[in-house]
Symmetry: C2
């Protein structure tokens, strides 16, 4: 079993399971989805990140005890990923680092799309010299906005703006883009490789899961 | 179609197709295997690398013209990978960089196994602070040696030596290890994640191939 940690608190099972559902469907692996307690608005600044860190470690430790052979911290900012690695012996994968290293495997100039104001530091550090620009689709404050026809057009326009600046790979810095299927929209419309953070974390986690149970 | 470049010349179809066969079997994608001309001993020093570089570029360009949507340079030293990226518009994946970035996704100390005297520079550079040690199985000069029971024991012993030094992930710096199935031997015997260079290049190449034809 892959243990997947959501860094926002939700009692809505559909929301809780949405990343794991994508990974199970794409890679045919079982995923146990759990969330940290008492943070319904997730991680949105330094204070809430500090608050979340020990909860992520505690949840990851419990998942290892419960038999998970790979743990995924399903957030583009990789919160507590390095910390959790010091507390468990199973592999720990972060959405932001997995997506960024996957972009480096391709080696072409990268444009990043997200909905927060800034690109997560872990992604910026890994992308390094391949990083060209970070962009937020205009007028889009959350992934619900992106689900409207206008939001979808804004996302395509943002990707086009990146491509005009010479990028050849798009990386998502927002796991919310995965749940609305934005990657396939951009792939179809623009014929460009898109690295979706949930797909990327799932690609490596499922590969490790399969090889460790051989 | 994925275009896979072998950097040694062979008329033996079984040898020519062995990396592509592994990738097709693991990831259910079509692979066209071709090799560079007039280098039956492959790349084994600076001179033969310089000789191979323009041949790799020419072959990659032809593969793109023939409709390959992803090109793989199937050698742990990533020969001409950066150069080829400047000459084609499709993604170019190198075995050494793909395996090394995959190790970085896991973020734990890495031991590398190979049969050449030194670790390829591209792998050393990417692994950076995660790199602990490079090891050659004792008395093993080529992958044929590894296929004997004694060679297999030497490979397991080399992996154990790495693990005693605190490594938690093994990366192969030799595509020949893939054709003899060494990764599964070490996974089974030692219960440790093993990043096989052909499996790693295939993981990213097949993901890109599938998303670009969606």
């Amino acid at each position: 079993m892959i243990g997947l940690i959501r860094v926002l608190t939700t009692a809505n099972l559909e929301v809780l399971n949405e990343h794991g559902r994508i990974i199970s469907e794409l890679y045919a692996v079982p995923v146990n989805n759990e969330c940290i307690p008492d943070q319904p608005f997730g991680i949105h600044n330094d204070e809430t990140e500090q608050l979340a860190n020990p909860k992520i470690v505690a949840l990851g430790q419990r998942m290892e005890q419960d038999g998970c052979s790979v743990i995924v911290v399903s957030c583009a900012a990789d919160p507590a990923v390095d910390l959790l690695r010091k507390h468990v012996s199973v592999p720990v994968i972060g959405a932001g680092s997995a997506a960024s290293y996957m972009a480096r495997m391709i080696g072409k100039p990268v444009g990043v799309m997200g909905i927060t104001e800034t690109l997560p530091k872990v992604m910026h550090d890994i992308l390094g010299d391949l990083f060209v620009r970070y962009i937020q689709p205009e007028g889009v404050a959350n992934t619900t906005d992106l689900m409207t026809p206008a939001g979808r057009q804004q996302a395509i326009q943002a990707a086009k703006t990146l491509m005009e600046q010479g990028i050849e790979v798009i990386v998502f810095a927002c796991t919310g883009f995965s749940t609305i299927g934005l990657a396939d929209v951009l792939r179809t419309e623009l014929n460009i490789p898109v690295i979706d953070a949930v797909e990327a974390e799932g690609l490596i986690a499922s590969n490790l899961y399969k090889q460790l149970k051989r």
